[in-house]
């Protein structure tokens, strides 16, 4: 059986699995870091201790999430070499520096100042502590900048030439870093991360209100989350639309797969639901709205939208995955907007914090952001197939000369490890949430140190 296994397929599954696992953590920590910065800013500005209490609860959750993000991220930085070495060799001239800049400008910043953020509450001045939080938040955004630039370059490669030896050489770094899809992907992803955190945190706030525990904190948490839902969720619809139009001009095959459209036509309908069949080259059981696809993509009822048949069979992405992932993402986004609208109505009626069904609803929405982020990445990454670098290099050409057996073993080991780690991590985060914010004694960082060892204490002890 092992001999029949395909090392390309196994490598793809392994990469997809480890990356899907990893993306949960950045998606959460990008938003959480910024939110913590806002909380600490409010604490310093108003002196209202409720912000400090919430901060110290969520910084512990941040620590757990960040730890899992770090270890799963280290894995990613090695997999380009272990599993995609031909890709690493050929595209290294271009992607290497981008990832190098990510490490230099972000990872050290985050890792170093996280220490102060977690263990420095009483050890450094309040303003320095606030600065550390802001720096960590900035670090997460800088990291997103570089990694999304690298990913976007693989979607819309620019500013390079192909050498006679098949290696890619940079010709214009500005074009490489700020390639056409990058600004859209960056804005879309960062907004998604903020919404992910808002809905995850908001659900926890609703949980406290529902239980009648930590009501003061619960109201602040839910309130802040709903501000995001009201203002940012509709904005995300706009950002997503712009990103889609950008994809339409740069990667039309991906959009055709998103739409489930096989024939090129003017006045193309919007297929709401259906079952795209790759072999039969049609979308079965389609529920359509006439001409809407053309209107959305070309802003003209009779604009031309290219169908999948424009491309040879071996240049089409797996349509079913792209089609349904996209609908999952948009569906979840719509639910977020509706949640925001509901919150607005309840707020106007002064009932935002005491309607039980809304609290249940917010709790149900906790995983919404994560699921939407994952679905979105499925759309963009599977939609790029069969290429690893759009139009330049196929995924099958990129794989390492490693036999299938070691990859099968490593894949199994990753699945097992991540199941244990993710399971335990989720359990401990749940425990922290159930315990809730602690208003009494200062709980210090996440390491159970009730009273931090103060510099002054250490000095006087020695004397």
């Amino acid at each position: 059986m092992i001999e029949n296994l395909d090392s390309v397929l196994l490598s793809r599954i392994q990469f997809a699995f480890t990356l899907s696992f990893h993306i949960f953590f950045p998606a959460f920590t990008i938003g959480l870091a910024s939110w913590l910065a806002v909380l600490e800013w409010r604490l310093l500005a108003t002196g209202n201790t409720v912000y400090g209490v919430i901060y110290r609860m969520w910084v512990k959750i941040f620590a757990v999430t960040f730890g899992m993000g770090v270890v799963s991220g280290v894995v990613m930085s090695f997999q380009f070499g272990t599993n995609w070495s031909v890709f690493a060799d050929k595209a290294g001239n271009i992607l290497g520096p981008l990832l190098g800049y990510e490490v230099l400008t972000s990872f050290f910043l985050e890792a170093s100042f996280l220490g102060i953020m977690l263990f420095g509450w009483n050890r450094v001045d309040r303003r320095i502590h606030f600065a550390a939080t802001v720096i960590v938040a900035a670090g997460t955004l800088i990291s997103a900048f570089w990694i999304l630039s690298a990913n976007s370059w693989m979607q819309t490669p620019r500013g390079f030439r192909i050498g006679e030896n098949g290696l890619l050489y940079p010709t214009d770094w500005m074009q490489i870093v700020f390639n056409p899809s990058f600004p859209f992907r960056f804005v879309h992803m960062v907004t998604a991360a903020y919404l992910t955190t808002a809905f995850a945190a908001g659900g926890v706030g609703a949980f406290y209100l529902l239980r009648g525990r930590h009501v003061r904190e619960g109201r602040v948490i839910l309130g802040m989350a709903m501000i995001m839902a009201v203002f940012v969720a509709p904005l995300q619809l706009l950002f997503g639309d712009l990103h889609g139009l950008n994809t339409f001009s740069n990667q039309p095959a991906k959009v055709a797969a998103i739409e489930g459209l096989w024939e090129t036509r003017r006045g193309a309908p919007l297929i709401l639901f259906g079952w795209p069949d790759q072999a039969e080259e049609k979308t079965k059981y389609a529920v359509e709205i006439p001409k809407l696809s053309s209107l959305i993509l070309t802003h003209d009822f009779n604009g031309e939208v290219r169908g999948l048949k424009e491309w040879p069979k071996d240049q089409r992405p797996p349509v079913l995955w792209v089609f349904w992932s996209f609908r999952a993402m948009v569906g979840l986004g719509t639910l977020m907007i509706l949640t925001g609208l509901t919150a607005l109505v309840l707020y106007i009626r002064k009932r935002l914090f005491d309607v039980r069904w809304f609290q249940y609803w917010c709790m149900a929405m906790i995983p919404a952001g994560f699921a939407a982020v994952l679905a979105g990445w499925f759309v963009t990454e599977i939609g790029r197939q069969p290429y690893i670098i759009q139009g330049v290099m196929r995924t099958t050409e990129a794989v390492s000369p490693v036999k299938a057996l070691p990859i099968a073993i490593s894949l199994g080991a990753f699945i097992l490890t991540y199941a244990v780690v993710f399971g335990a991590g989720s359990y401990y985060i749940m425990k922290l949430i159930r315990k809730g914010p602690e208003t009494e004694a200062e709980v210090y960082g996440s390491h159970g140190v009730k009273e931090p060892p103060l510099i002054t204490g250490i000095v006087s002890e020695k004397e």
């Binding site: 620590a63 757990v64 730890g67 899992m68 770090v70 270890v71 799963s72 280290v74 894995v75 930085s77 090695f78 380009f80 070499g81 272990t82 070495s85 690493a88 060799d89 290294g92 001239n93 271009i94 290497g96 520096p97 990832l99 190098g100 800049y101 990510e102 490490v103 230099l104 400008t105 050290f108 910043l109 170093s112 100042f113 220490g115 977690l118 263990f119 050890r123 290696l167 050489y169 940079p170 010709t171 770094w173 390492s400 000369p401 057996l405 070691p406 080991a413 990753f414 780690v421 991590g425 401990y428 425990k431 996440s446 390491h447 159970g448 009730k450 009273e451 931090p452 060892p453 204490g457």
Partner: protein
Amino acid sequence: MFSLESFLDVQLVWFALIVTALFLYVLLDGFDLGVGILFPFAPSDECRDRMMNSIAPFWDGNETWLVLSGGGLFAAFPLAYAILMPALYMPVILMLLGLIFRGVAFEFRFKAVKSRFIWDYAFHFGSIVAAFMQGVFLGAFVRGIHVEGRSFAGQPFDWLNAYSFMTGVALLFGYALLGSTWLMMKTDGITGDWARKCASYVLGYVGVFMAIVSISMPVMNEGVRELWFTLPNFYYLVPVPIVTAALIILIWRDLHRGCENRPFFFSIGVFLMGYLGLGISLWPWLVPFAVTFRQAAAAASSQSFLLVGTLVILPVILTYVGYCYYIFRGKVSHEGYY
């Protein structure tokens, strides 16, 4: 296209940077992996908490040097990265899994109550696996990598042999030395005394293993033999083993005199000498004995583009990493820990 080539040997600068980053990784993660290796042997749970607290603010910063070494290799020498990673596929993956378990253990063990022992062992065995695999890289590396064209052409288990097993064990002892001398510096009382005993126990093994590696390399490889044992090279290079031996003797004396801080820095010196010896032997190979660092170098424009930023940012990084060590300086005290 933009390039610094005309007034700087960019390839050589990058080689030096990567080698330095890797050395910093070995030192910094070395001591916290070492703490993990010694972890279950500590006399009490209180000691273990204190050991953990002595490295908690630093470990992920330390691990970032590994990411920089890997990322930097990918950026500056993509060919070497593309050959070495598949060649060392299994040990790399095992190291990563080890690092995952020990990394999450930092957060999890303080959240766990009944299941704490699980994360204590995850921390211990994760550290051992990661450290051992790094030693295996060293063994596989000095034995040479089978390359054809631009890729690895060997077998999946080429890395596994008695020699790489020996270097794996050797690095366990090396990291244990760094870990125990770190603990002597950062803790006191029972933990400090115990760390001192560990250090003196481990030190002998470190000396023996360093001697084995030093003797075996010229025996196994003719190029290395010629490099070290021809005149006048011999006179220039002979200080390396002499200084190493002197440092080991100094550590030994300090351990029995009660010095708390110096052994850690002398241990760093021992590592530096070992690293220097390896570097001299393997120069100028990046994939021994197939690809030199010049052959593996990325396009001049790529190396220059990243170098500009690196030369600006690296001093800043070193400053704030230093600042973080400064903030958490001093001993992890008795009070405030359960």
